[in-house]
């Protein structure tokens, strides 16, 4: 045990000695969360919209007014014809346009149909469908209110947005960022630090020491667990203090789950480092191999429900996906272990599997 403690100390010195790397590792995740928390939003706002109204009237002006006063839209102009739309869309000045029919006012008082065209810049279908649904909602409300007359049927829909009533992106983003940053930083840290010993040849020296190879790996990983945990504390502190993110569940549970996830990412790093011979292969695997999948298959940006079935099944083996559910569950929804035990168990299982895989590969390498 004494030898092990000495080894951990050596590793800790390695990290602390290189001041530059130490500060980068400690502060980088915090800075990222601060920047992205302010800058990156998945919701759609300020949609630049134009309205084509060949025959302006009080009723159509009410619609224009609705768009103008909505925070989701930015009204770029009301035009009598569709001619000016083409240029606007191509150059990107316009993202959306509502085209009203001729004599909308008369149609509104009649019994026939009121055909409205909604044109969206389809080059980005993702925001496109969100923009479309927002605009449709405004038009429908306008229509409903314009035609409400005595005797017509009306069903109101009282809506409650649960857990995140203001639809704040930050609440969605911070857990995702924690997962992303922890995955990459932890996996990369271990992978690089182990392959560096291989590359410089010092790994062999360590392996001939009386320490069990497992103790060597554990010793290399231990300081990084502390580092990852410090990152979690800083990031959570920023999320809570700067962005006012709620913490509805138990803090102890949250920290324990974070610790579990750090272990998971570090184990992944060990597996990568056992199959990589050089720092270059280790880092390409850790960074290029993990960055986009963690970003796109964890539910961080794109909702998992929307994935094609084979891909949705595949996301089950992405640890970040489970971690994201846990963090959001605890912070935003105030869930406890009663609801999150499955996710937790899966993460524990994955971590153990990765550790066993790493151990077996490590053993092979020793022969």
């Amino acid at each position: 045990m004494n030898a092990f403690a000495g080894f951990v100390r050596k590793e800790a010195f390695h990290i602390l000695r290189d001041r530059q790397t130490f500060w980068i590792l400690l502060l980088m995740p915090l800075v990222q969360v601060l920047i992205f928390g302010y800058a990156v939003r998945t919701d759609v706002r300020d949609v630049r919209i134009a309205i084509v109204d060949p025959t302006p009237s009080t009723a159509t002006r009410a619609l224009v007014q609705r768009f103008a006063s909505s925070s989701r839209f930015q009204l770029m102009g009301v035009y009598p014809t569709m001619q000016s739309l083409d240029d606007g869309f191509r150059s990107g000045v316009l993202r959306q346009a509502v085209v009203l029919p001729r004599d909308a006012d008369r149609l509104l008082r009649g019994q026939a149909t009121l055909p409205i065209q909604l044109i969206t810049d389809g080059a980005d279908p993702n925001t496109g469908s969100v923009m479309q649904s927002y605009a449709t909602a405004i038009i429908q409300r306008w229509h409903a209110e314009s035609v409400v007359r005595a005797g017509s049927l009306r069903i109101d829909l009282a809506t409650r947005m649960r857990y995140n009533p203001t639809l704040e992106s930050v609440n969605l983003f911070v857990p995702g960022l924690i997962a992303l940053v922890l995955t990459i930083v932890s996996a990369m840290m271990t992978a690089i630090s182990i392959t560096r010993e291989k590359e410089t040849g010092t790994m062999e020296m360590l392996l001939v020491s009386p320490l069990h190879p497992w103790a060597i790996v554990a010793g290399k990983v231990a300081p990084y667990v502390a580092m990852g945990f410090a990152n979690v504390l800083l990031v959570l502190g920023a999320a809570w203090g700067v962005f006012g993110m709620p913490l509805r569940g138990s803090l102890v549970l949250l920290l324990a789950e974070c610790l579990l996830y750090i272990l998971n990412a570090l184990a992944l790093g060990i597996v990568i480092s056992t199959s990589a011979q050089t720092q270059r292969t280790a880092m390409i695997a850790a960074l290029a191999g993990l960055l986009l999948p963690t970003l796109m298959l964890s539910g961080f940006i794109f909702p998992l429900e929307s994935l094609p079935t084979p891909l949705r099944l595949f996301t089950n083996i992405v640890p970040a996906r489970w971690f994201l559910l846990i963090v959001r569950g605890i912070m935003v929804k105030g869930a406890g272990l009663a609801t999150l035990w499955q996710e937790t168990l899966i993460l524990v299982g994955m971590t153990l599997a990765l550790l066993v895989l790493g151990a077996r590969r490590l053993a092979i390498r020793l022969d």
């Binding site: 149909t113 909604l118 389809g122 449709t136 049927l153 069903i155 829909l157 720092q279 986009l292």
Partner: protein, 372 residues
């Protein structure tokens, strides 16, 4: 010139000798492009819904049927009381709960006005909005239908609203047309930037950089020789990706391909130049990697590749103006999907060119041949 060629040959040999790296730099982009291109959509196919039907009448069951039949909802729970619903929402068994209160039909018949309650799991902001709109659409249709059957004589009905939606440039609303270029940009950037940054850091760590420094090679020659091989490699990766996009995902190539390559050539100089610049002030590969990760994540997430630039606050939109990834993504999407020509992309290409010259000048100046 000969010096540069020799140095380049050395770089190529070093990369291609390492089979694991060669495998990675071609395998990772291809697999990720093939897999991830399917992943990037906000479109939710069917939302799982719980219906709490306290009314138990023809009208209320009719509504449940319309919700189920509309294709946007999947009614996974239907029950007369709210028991267990709260937990189902918390446990993500359902994404939304619709409560039809007791007396719903009676109210509609008697007062011609009734209300419903919808609770949506708003953990994910954008999808919550879409769920709500889908519910409203079903409800609007159902109200109109009921109005026909229940409409008493002499009741004035308004016109039927029809909203025809069109997506310009991408009428089938195929999100892959939008996302394949984005993923291609990300992958090319990640691999190219990493390889370049790691390369010099490795020479520093091994001490071979000092050996190069004592040779009569000039700084300019050195930077060129370090840049060109990875520039060619990245161009190869980009080409493979473009072919996959074209033949596997059928992304349109409406604009001019030479224009795409011109933009790519300029962009890669900027991206790799950033990698070079990073490696001039870091000491170890580990440091280089973390700084590169930091820079890349900022560039990628703030470029509008994955989230809309328009939703970002003003300062971030300004910051996006100096983000090469953003400009390259704009060019690719405009030329490939919208068929835009030189007049639209001249400005972003010019910005990229200025950025490329700037970052290379910085890298050459910062790189010192003196030993540390």
């Amino acid at each position: 010139m000969r010096v540069i060629l020799f140095l380049m040959r050395k770089e190529f040999l070093q990369v291609f000798r390492d089979k694991a790296t060669v495998f990675q730099i071609f395998f990772i982009p291809v697999v990720q492009l093939l897999v991830l291109s399917n992943a990037a959509t906000f479109d939710i196919k069917r939302t799982s819904l719980a219906v709490v039907d306290e009314d138990r009448t023809t009208v209320s069951t009719g509504l449940t049927q319309r919700l189920e039949g509309g294709g946007r909802f999947r009614v996974v729970r239907e029950q007369p009381t709210t028991a267990g619903v709260e937990f189902a929402l918390l446990d993500r068994e359902v994404s939304a709960v619709l409560r039809i209160p007791h007396g719903f039909e009676a109210d509609l018949v008697r007062e011609r006005h009734a209300s419903l309650q919808l609770q949506v799991n708003a953990e994910e902001g954008a999808s919550a909005g879409i769920i709500l709109t889908a519910a409203q659409a079903v409800l609007a249709d159902y109200t109109r239908e009921l109005g026909m059957t229940m409409g008493a004589a002499g009741v004035v009905r308004g016109p039927v609203l029809t909203i025809a939606t069109q997506g310009w440039f991408n009428p089938s609303r195929n999100y892959k047309h939008y996302m394949v270029p984005a993923i291609l940009v990300s992958l090319t950037t990640i691999i190219g930037l990493l390889l370049t940054a790691q390369n010099i850091a490795r020479e520093k760590e091994l001490g071979t950089l000092d050996q190069l420094n004592v040779t009569p090679i000039t700084k300019g020659q050195f930077i060129t020789a370090k840049l060109l091989p990875f520039w060619l490699l990245s161009l190869m990766i980009f080409t493979i990706g473009l072919l996959i996009g074209k033949f596997v995902f059928g992304i349109p190539t409406r604009g001019s391909i030479p224009l795409v390559y011109l933009a790519t050539a300029v962009y890669l100089v900027v991206a790799l130049g950033i990698g070079l610049f990073i490696s001039t002030f870091t000491n170890t590969q580990q440091q280089t990697m973390f700084v590169a990760f930091f820079v890349m994540l900022i560039y990628l997430l703030m470029s509008g590749l994955f989230t809309p630039v328009d939703s970002m606050p003003r300062w971030a939109q300004w910051a996006a103006e100096v983000n090469p990834v953003k400009h390259f993504a704009v060019i690719l999407r405009a030329v490939l999907v919208k068929g835009a020509g030189w007049e639209v992309v001249a400005r972003p290409i010019l910005i990229l060119a200025v950025g490329g010259v700037g970052i290379l000048t910085l890298a050459v100046r910062k790189y010192s041949k003196q030993a540390h």
